[in-house]
């Protein structure tokens, strides 16, 4: 594919990737958050595929397929099931109100840009140019982990962090070895399963999954 088309597509994929993260911060309905997460997974897969095609790494295409299956298919499916099991439809009042967290996300973006500047400077290329996007997603994920109450949103936060790391890894290096990606994905899968089980247990124990109620466990 031609260089300009490659750059355009890459940027577009990166843009969607970032936008999905932001919208996850914006929306309250857990269902639509999950939908957005699936979209982000797809964008990530597209990103990997584009890189693969451009760098003529056929195995990357395989990885892309894997990413798609896991992040746009399996994980959202699991989460949807957890959601159906728990009666909670919405993220009721997060610790930081939505407007404020959106503004925070804006500053996080600029921060990510500032810190990743030297990284990009090492080897300026369309791929590395997009690294800040990945870092932003990581930061947003951490922010979600820190400020959202529902256990499911916490899972989403964790997955956002992981998506961001993966994106950075692919953008920074010319294709992560397949094994690494598999390893990462597997332990993420594991973590998610554990969390989901926990969520279920918590719901059985407390009836709700408001993490603030975990404090009761500790005293």
């Amino acid at each position: 594919m031609s260089d300009t088309a490659y750059v355009q597509l890459l940027d577009l994929a990166a843009g969607v990737f970032l936008l999905a993260a932001v919208l996850m911060l914006w929306r309250r309905e857990l269902a639509s958050i999950i939908r957005l997460f699936a979209a982000q997974g797809a964008a990530l897969a597209a990103l990997v595929a584009i890189l693969g095609v451009h760098q003529q790494h056929p195995e990357l295409l395989g990885v892309a397929a894997g990413v798609l299956a896991l992040r746009a298919g399996l994980l959202p499916y699991l989460m949807r099931r957890a959601l159906a099991a728990s009666g909670e439809a919405r993220e009721t009042q997060p610790l930081v109100n939505v407007a404020a967290s959106l503004l925070t996300a804006a500053t996080l973006t600029l921060l990510a840009y500032a810190v990743s500047r030297p990284l990009v400077a090492l080897a300026p290329s369309p791929a590395t140019q997009a690294i800040p996007v990945g870092i932003t997603v990581v930061l947003i994920g951490l922010f979600v982990l820190a400020t959202r109450r529902r256990a499911l949103s916490q899972v989403v936060g964790l997955l956002l962090v992981d998506n961001g790391i993966t994106a950075v890894a692919f953008l920074a290096t010319a294709g992560v070895p397949l094994t690494v990606e598999l390893g990462v994905s597997l332990d993420v899968l594991l973590a998610v399963l554990v969390l989901l089980v926990l969520t279920a247990r918590m719901r059985i124990a407390f009836g709700a999954t408001d993490l603030d109620e975990l404090r009761e466990l500790h005293d």
């Binding site: 959106l102 973006t109 996007v133």
Partner: protein
């Protein structure tokens, strides 16, 4: 600046002034059809205007010059952008005013005059509408200017004609994340500025839920006609900007007069399309609570900032 430019300017002025009520009619018609109605027809707003112009103007006792002047000023602030913005031609003779910031500020001036008029009457609803309108306006400004920023970074100018021409020369720019994000942000603020759902419900009868309507409750006859007409024109102007900043194809750039008719047709088509889309989308929306609106605007602000950010970190 040439004869074509002048002709184009006049043409687009007439087009916007004459087409705005039709756009409003189209949007109502689309909405009616989606609600299973027959609809009053696209030309209904024109009938309303004609009748209102014939009716008797009323000045409430205890209101002052601000109340009297507001409709005219509002109309003027809608006419000037309609003449200068690159809708039909990029060679408007009034290029000195064809600055994106200036156009936005002019539209804001219109809102302000209406708010002052509402306060001038001294009714509770007038004050309420003015206060809410000003709140929304204040929160919309940052988004607009950041979107402007994002658009002008790639061009190096806030001059509308310059932005449009640059897009014409480099169409790939449009699909860049920066301009897509900016487009979404601008769309949101357009909705907020023109008082459409989910920010404000243009066809509400409940004063307590009103924003824009509450300010014009006292107007009647020709005054009301001017206000309705001007509001329709503001909507047209903003949609037109949205259309031509991101999809300027078909606009007349050269000095050939033959390009103008085509440009008119294309522009009308684009705006009609946008309007219909907006109306269709509104069917699926409920009005936001007033204090959820800042959330929406914060979101659009974030999009605009992301647009700026991506415009310099994604290549």
């Amino acid at each position: 600046m040439n004869s074509t430019g002048a002709a184009g300017a006049v043409l687009q002025l007439v087009l916007v002034a004459g087409g705005a009520p039709l756009l409003a009619g189209l949007m109502r018609q689309v909405r009616a059809r989606m609600e299973g109605r027959a609809g009053a027809g696209v030309t209904q707003p024109w009938r309303d205007l004609r009748k209102l112009l014939r009716k008797e103007p009323i000045t409430p006792r205890g209101s002052g010059p601000a109340f009297r002047a507001a409709p005219t000023v509002l109309m003027a602030t809608a006419l000037v952008p309609a003449a200068v913005a690159p809708f039909v031609t990029t060679a408007s003779p009034l290029d000195g005013a064809a600055d994106l910031i200036a156009v936005v500020a002019l539209l804001a001036l219109g809102t302000v005059t209406l708010a002052l008029a509402a306060l001038d009457t001294g009714t509770a609803f007038g004050g309420m509408g003015a206060s809410r309108e000003m709140t929304v306006l204040a929160l919309v400004e940052p988004t607009i200017l950041l979107a402007v920023f994002a658009l002008s970074v790639r061009v190096g100018s806030t001059n509308l004609a310059a932005i449009v021409t640059a897009t014409l020369h480099d169409p790939l720019r449009v699909v860049s994340p920066a301009s897509l994000l900016a487009a979404v942000a601008l769309a949101v603020v357009t909705i907020a500025e023109t008082g459409r759902l989910p920010v404000d419900n243009p066809s509400t009868h409940l004063e307590l839920t009103m924003i824009h309507e509450a300010m014009v409750l006292e107007y009647s006859g020709p005054d009301l006609a001017l206000i309705e007409w001007a509001s329709a024109m503001r909507l047209t102007v903003l949609l037109g900007l949205l259309a031509n900043l991101f999809a300027p194809w078909g606009i007349a750039t050269g000095a050939s007069l033959t390009a103008l008719p085509l440009a008119v047709g294309v522009f009308a088509g684009k705006v009609a399309l946008l309007g219909a889309g907006l109306a269709a989308a509104e069917v699926f929306m409920a009005k936001l609570r007033l204090f959820r609106v800042p959330e929406l605007l914060a979101g659009s602000f974030l999009l605009a900032l992301l647009a700026v950010a991506t415009s310099f970190f994604l290549a």
